[in-house]
């Protein structure tokens, strides 16, 4: 049995079990009348990256507060690798009783839109949405391998035009949003560039700071140590608008009109999880996002806790998939 069949079989088996659970849960609801009754005693949130990274720390801080809010045990489990596909395969085969949640990232949309045959499947049907979580722009930085005159997006693109095929750009994996941001930038400005993958983004930022690679598109936390040490020049943020946390840093869109790539995290559950459970989680997560200490903690990383409804996340995922599918038709992305 191959991967997908196996997960599918397991889902069918579990779906039967879940409908029974849903019924009994509905009964408890009418009796107890609390949302908390819907949520299992122990929840495991699967993070598709290694411990200590940006998404991981955000999730752990949220998980901590979620545990207090719901009065249940919240575990965070790291299953890194292969552009989040290892975590996706794990969660799509998990029980649909709300005991396992996934932190989704732009990789959900990029993987499926660009390499549908290699991806684990359509995330829109594999997972139910729980809530949008956080959002942060990526940061474009230049290192000492580029001349001092490169101070912003326009001068970076000029340099790349004068040295065709030379510009190396750090990013974090073949199917990730930073890679696509780089490709999109090259496409919009009509400048070719070489994208170089790193398992650990912080190692990539260090390579830029040391002058081995020209520039990078990284998460802000990955680049921050070297920016503060003066080894990296921040050029721009990749989101449509400037980050409220870094108002002085221009957006790429100020040079390339309409450029908009951001890192977002959303919480997902295996498809078939009962609505009551999803709603209870959505409410709890959104209460947690209002926590002032949480918001302050991640402001330096450029993270905003956006929150929102289950539909908001579904819409976002759907529109991103369509956007990348369109881009792949326009440009030869040559995902190797």
């Amino acid at each position: 049995m191959n991967l997908k069949q196996r997960a599918a079989t397991r889902r069918t088996i579990l779906a039967g079990a879940a409908s029974v659970t849903a019924l009994s849960l509905a009964l408890t609801l009418s009796a107890a009348g609390t949302a908390q009754a819907q949520v299992p005693d122990t929840v495991t949130i699967i993070v598709p990256f290694g411990a200590g990274g940006g998404v991981d720390t955000v999730t752990r801080a949220v998980a901590d507060r979620l545990a207090q809010d719901l009065g249940v045990t919240v575990l965070v489990d790291n299953r890194p690798g292969a552009s989040t596909m290892i975590a996706q395969t794990y969660v799509m085969g998990a029980p649909t009783d709300g005991t396992v949640l996934l932190v989704g990232t732009p990789s959900l949309s990029t993987g499926f839109a660009l390499t549908p045959e290699a991806a684990v499947g359509d995330p829109r049907t594999l997972f139910d949405t729980v809530t949008p979580m956080a959002q942060q722009p990526y940061i474009l930085t230049a290192g000492p391998a580029l001349p001092e005159s490169v101070t912003d997006v326009a001068s970076l693109l000029d340099w790349a035009r004068e040295n065709p095929g030379e510009l190396d750009l750090v990013n974090s994996g073949p199917l990730t949003a930073p890679r696509l941001a780089a490709e999109l930038m090259g496409y919009m400005a009509e400048v070719p560039m070489v994208t170089i993958s790193y398992q650990a983004g912080s190692q990539g930022a260090l390579d830029v700071a040391a002058g081995r690679v020209h520039a990078g598109i990284n998460q802000i936390v990955e680049a921050l140590p070297q920016i503060e040490a003066g080894n990296l020049r921040p050029l721009a943020v990749t989101s449509l608008n400037r980050s409220p946390n870094y108002p002085d840093l221009p957006a790429v869109s100020e040079t390339l009109e309409g450029f908009d790539v951001a890192s977002w995290n959303g919480v997902f559950a295996p498809a078939g999880t009962p609505d009551e459970v999803l709603d209870a989680y959505n409410a709890a997560f959104n209460r947690v996002f209002q926590d002032e200490s949480l918001r302050e903690m991640f402001a330096p990383a450029g993270t905003e806790f956006v929150g929102g409804s289950r539909e908001d996340l579904a819409t976002r995922l759907d529109s991103e998939i369509q956007r990348w599918e369109n881009l792949a038709q326009e440009v030869d992305l040559a995902i190797e």
Binding site: M1, N2, L3, R6, A7, G50, A51, G52, G53, D56, T57, R60, A61, D64, R79, G81, A82, S83, M85, I86, T89, G93, G111, T115, A118, D168, G173, P174, L175, V194, I196, S197, Y198, Q199, A200, S202, Q203, L206, D207, A209, A210, R212, V213, V221, E222, L224, P225, Q226, E228, A229, N231, M297, P300, A301, I335, E336
Partner: protein, 503 residues
């Protein structure tokens, strides 16, 4: 230099922070937990750290780091116990300690081996801390010069050296290193996400687990080959202080290996990702190469346990330099510590030492306290551990096997990992019959994936030109040293053969 002028002030500041009652307590919890996790076969420091991580969000960052760090180096400190007594290495670096530690146990000198590794661990750790205190800013600077090309060259050197570690021919060692790298390629490719050698299995996508490989290759293979052969272990003399102490000659002969091991360990510890494993292999190989009687190695040579234990504990301490001053975690455990820092709004980086002197120096001084606690904790425990050997073998085997199974199973909660233990157990037993060494395979497995990542990236940056490894000065030097080492090995082998022929 004002850095050294202010050193004393920093030491006082750090000691003040580290010796506060609550920090002492967190340090004790950390090293205690680390010792337990290190000793139980099949459990890594990740298990203990994940357990304590939630606490760290509620205590101040210095205390959190002191505790997590305690687990990290405490695990290495205790990790040699199962290697020496039961031939069960928890990590690649402990596999080196097995080579001579387990033969010592078989010769009835297990207590001496444990005592000496405890001393070596303390000693290596101490030198690592001294270097951490004196050289952090310098080392942080030189680590900047190491890119993918240099890392790749360094790993080539490590693996070539590892090939010569075990007895038998160099070619056999090399073959086993390569087989280890081959097993390391199983799983999803990090560059493209393509599934490699998984046979479509859902669970092999994560790759083969280190624990399953190490426990099978060493533990299960050892159990199978010694059942029915090991008898009459029931009468052991009580372990007195005298039984633990090495002879005067051994003590004197250990000083050099201790120092060299600590030096090698301190250097490799600062390179993120490679750290303790390469250091332990390298330290062992250096001692074996220096020795006038290399044939003692593998048969219970004291230098063969002292040097690698000194090296991996030194590496554990200096590994904090890239983590704290460059923000690059060298291991999953270090990544958790970085996460705890970022969570408290502290950005790691070159500025950390200047901006957060209380945290940095408090942490460094807590290493002293932690290492001292480990020494005090471990020496009395030697007597207890050695009693394990008094347990009849037919009772010990099921207990050890149960721990191995639980250790493998608990990582991912899938039976596949238990079957992998079986697979590698059979492989390990077959390798024993064919006199193929297991330790190089383990190092190849650990370094293989990193090696591939760095190799492919170097080639990409160099636009497909393999000459880049020879054009960049640091990597060219490392590769030249590696070739020189190979030549020297070949000459030594030929000379030995010549002596055999004349004899």
């Amino acid at each position: 230099m004002d850095y050294f002028a202010s050193l004393w002030g920093n030491i006082v500041l750090g000691f003040g922070t580290a010796s506060s009652l609550s920090n002492l307590m967190y340090c004790l919890i950390g090293v205690g937990m680390g010792t337990v996790v290190g000793i139980v076969p099949g459990l890594g420091s990740m298990a203990a750290i994940s357990l304590l991580l939630p606490i760290t969000f509620h205590i101040d960052p210095t205390s959190a780091l002191i505790m997590l760090a305690g687990i990290w180096y405490g695990t290495t400190f205790g990790g040699s116990t199962a290697s020496i007594l039961l031939n069960l290495p928890g990590t690649a670096s402990n596999a080196v300690t097995c080579l001579d530690g387990y033969p010592m146990t078989k010769q009835g000198r297990g207590a001496v081996a444990l005592f000496m590794t405890t001393i070596a661990s303390f000693f290596g750790g101490s030198i690592g801390i001294v270097l951490l205190m004196l050289l952090s800013p310098v080392i942080a600077g030189y680590a900047l010069n190491f890119g993918s090309t240099e890392y790749f060259a360094l790993m080539v050197m490590g693996l070539v050296v590892a090939s010569s570690v075990s007895g038998g021919s160099f070619l056999k060692g090399m073959a086993m290193v390569l087989v280890g790298i081959a097993f390391g390629t199983v799983g999803l490719d990090i560059y493209t996400g393509a599934a490699r050698f998984t046979g479509g299995s859902f669970h092999l996508a994560d790759g083969i687990k280190l624990i399953a490989l190490a426990m099978g290759l060493f533990g299960v293979a050892e159990i199978v080959s010694s059942i029915g052969l090991v008898r009459g272990r029931t009468k052991l003399p009580p372990v007195t202080m005298g039984a633990m102490l090495p002879t005067k000659d051994e003590a004197r002969a250990s000083v050099g290996p201790l120092l060299r091991g600590a030096g090698i360990g301190s250097f490799f510890g600062t390179l993120p990702g490679t750290g303790p494993s390469i250091a332990a292999f390298m330290a062992y190989a250096v001692e074996k190469a220096r020795s006038r009687t290399p044939e003692r190695f593998g048969n219970g040579a004291m230098e063969g346990i002292v040097a690698p234990e000194s090296a991996n504990n030194a590496a554990d301490q200096t590994a904090f330099i890239p983590t704290l001053s460059l923000g690059i975690p060298g291991s999953a455990t270090m990544a958790l510590m970085l996460g705890a820092l970022i969570m408290h709004g502290i950005t790691p980086g070159p500025q950390l030492i200047v901006r957060e002197p209380g945290l940095f120096w408090g942490l460094v001084m807590s290493f002293w306290i932690g290492n001292l606690l480990l020494l005090i904790l471990n020496i009395p425990l030697i007597g207890v551990f050695v009693k394990i050997l008094a347990v009849p073998y037919n009772i010990l085997v099921p207990i050890v096997l149960t721990f191995i199974c639980i250790g493998a199973y608990s990582v991912g909660q899938v039976a596949t990992d238990v079957y992998m233990v079986l697979f590698f157990g059979l492989l390990g037993y077959g390798m024993r019959l064919l006199a193929l060494p297991a330790a190089p395979l383990l190092l190849g497995f650990v370094l293989g994936p990193l090696m591939e990542e760095h190799f492919r990236r170097s080639m990409l940056i160099a636009r497909g030109d393999a000459m880049t490894f020879l054009e960049r000065p640091i990597s060219a030097t490392i590769l030249a040293v590696t070739v020189a080492y190979l030549l020297w090995m070949a000459v030594a082998a030929l000379r030995r053969r010549g002596q055999e022929a004349t004899a």
